[in-house]
Subunit: 152 residues, 2 copies
DNA sequence: GTGTCATCATTGATACATCAATCAGATTTG
DNA sequence: CAAATCTGATTGATGTATCAATGATGACAC
């Protein structure tokens, strides 16, 4: 792992491009599948997942953003679209009048339930089934290295 | 690689999430760096790269789209934005009056030149430097498996 | 208690991706 | 050649991501 001496090699660039292209294509397929199965976008699903894991299926929007590691503005726009479609509701917060509570609606919970199993199946089909256990371990190790490097 | 029997495991899901999150973060950083160095977005860079590799720094827009594996509509919107900023020009095609030729402008070529080396350096810094040669080989192998699986 | 500052959340602007629709000009077919 | 069809490219609509700006409230110093 000779750092910073050599320049980026053609092979390294190729692997980078492959990584980007392949993950793009995987996401694209999962996104199409998710929309077919549940009418949800990946962003919708992500929000509903976080919300359905929350205490009482509700959460302060800043807390939600923090857990999801999303910008608040991003979440706010997303919630606006989801509220229009009835997937969530926004209520005033009792303890801080600046704050908003995001509440999972019945429709939101239904859509999420409808999405979950097929989504897991699609991840298995398109991603997990492609790799051997050894490749899996190797990938986990690689991701750990990348994450550590990013946080350094 | 027992296909289709077991359900997606928690570990597999975790690796999938890690893959998505880590590649997202990598892209985000490269995108910020690219913008700082050259004022270009990744989409701009991709178009300029394809165009600068083309015969005479010009190409029919459908040919460009094909090489880049982009939807024509996507390219058309992107070219519209880039034309406004003077990075490319569009000219009528001599041999097919429906067609358009996309031409790399001087400004476009400059921006691309300004972007290239720092971009490679950033890929090296954030990505390539994080991995050992063995991890690199493993990743290449994993990507090949994933691509083969997607094309099956 | 009032002024200053931080925080919660939203909004608007811009760029981008995707889809469906459009339109002009080429090509094919009878 | 005329009608039907296909193709190259653009456009508009919608959803999404990011950034800067805003407004309202809370917290703290004095």
């Amino acid at each position: 792992m000779v750092v910073g001496r050599r320049r980026l090699s053609v092979g390294e660039l190729g692997v980078w491009r492959g990584l980007v292209d392949t993950t793009d294509e995987l996401r694209r397929r999962l996104s199409v599948q998710l929309a077919e199965d549940s009418g949800l976008s990946p962003a919708d699903y992500r929000v509903l997942l976080a919300l359905s894991e929350a205490e009482g299926k509700r959460s302060r929007s800043s807390r939600l953003a923090e857990q999801m590691e999303w910008e608040r503005s991003r979440l706010s726009h997303q919630l606006g679209r989801m509220e229009k479609r009835g997937l969530i509701r926004r209520e005033d917060c009792a303890t801080d009048s600046r704050g908003a509570e995001v509440v999972l609606s019945e429709e939101g919970a239904d859509a999420f339930r409808r999405a979950t199993a097929p989504h897991a199946k699609a991840i298995k089909k398109h991603f997990a089934d492609a790799l051997t256990p050894a490749q899996f371990d190797a990938l986990e190790d690689i991701l750990q290295s990348l994450e550590r490097h990013l946080r350094r």
